[in-house]
């Protein structure tokens, strides 16, 4: 087994601010993902990384940057927070790509004032 840790749990920012969310996994999984979940909605893929130093854009990458510093960690940066933005950002990992099960972290809840 393993766990995924996301920090911080809650993030409050100001409009225009650059904000960074961090994710760590100890599954020793190759692939990591960042999703955005708006209240009552589905998950939208922002970025994913198949291996260390790899980055692939998802459907919602505009306005975000990502960094896979090492196999166990994957960071997401909101380049310019939008006023009244509120969403949960979920990090996930899987043993490989393709059909592998994705395991999700507890999420970071973002509020922009």
């Amino acid at each position: 087994g393993g766990i995924i840790t996301q920090t911080p749990k809650f993030l409050i920012g100001q409009e225009g601010q650059k904000l960074t969310l961090k994710c760590q996994q100890n599954f020793n999984h190759d692939t990591m993902y960042w999703y955005r979940q708006d209240s009552g909605k589905g998950l939208r893929l922002i970025y994913y990384s198949i291996t260390e130093n790899d980055l692939q854009k998802g459907d919602l990458s505009e306005g975000y940057d990502a960094s896979r510093e090492k196999k166990s960690s994957f960071s997401l940066t909101v380049t310019s927070a939008q006023k009244n933005e509120m969403a949960v950002f979920l990090c996930a990992s899987s043993i490989g790509g393709g059909y592998a099960e994705q395991f999700f972290g507890p999420g970071t809840r973002l509020t922009v004032l």
């Binding site: 589905g42 998802g58 790509g97 393709g98 059909y99 395991f103 999700f104 999420g107």
Partner: protein
């Protein structure tokens, strides 16, 4: 254009009834369809999955029925329990697209005792 659609958006059933959740997709190159379940305040977790080679996949009280010609799936939950109350997400992927998973908007299920 949403590539994976789910209906209904929300559903309430009585304990013991059979619940039917619907999913349809546009892209005929999708070949794998996992369903994730998200309990309130928790992260999604894989519930059951089906690939293009199967018409039906069963796991306990949960069964996926797959109509490939119409590009439609349904998740049946027999003998629904209050503990099944959650949001259910249908997702889709294609093997040659790396690890990219496309989620539907979800169905929020409430099972009343």
């Amino acid at each position: 254009q949403q590539q994976v659609r789910q209906s209904p958006q929300s559903l309430t059933v009585w304990e013991g009834e059979t619940t039917i959740l619907n999913c349809s997709y546009e892209d005929s190159t999708f070949d794998y369809f996992p369903w994730y379940r998200q309990f309130p305040g928790k992260s999604p977790a894989l519930l059951i999955a089906i690939s293009l080679v199967s018409n039906k996949k069963e796991d306990g009280r949960f069964t996926i029925f797959f109509n490939k010609r119409e590009k439609k799936l349904s998740l049946h939950i027999t003998d629904s329990q209050p503990g099944d109350s959650a949001t259910y997400f249908c997702a889709a992927m294609r093997d040659n697209a790396g690890a990219k998973l496309t989620f539907g908007g979800g169905t929020r299920l409430t099972v009343r005792p």
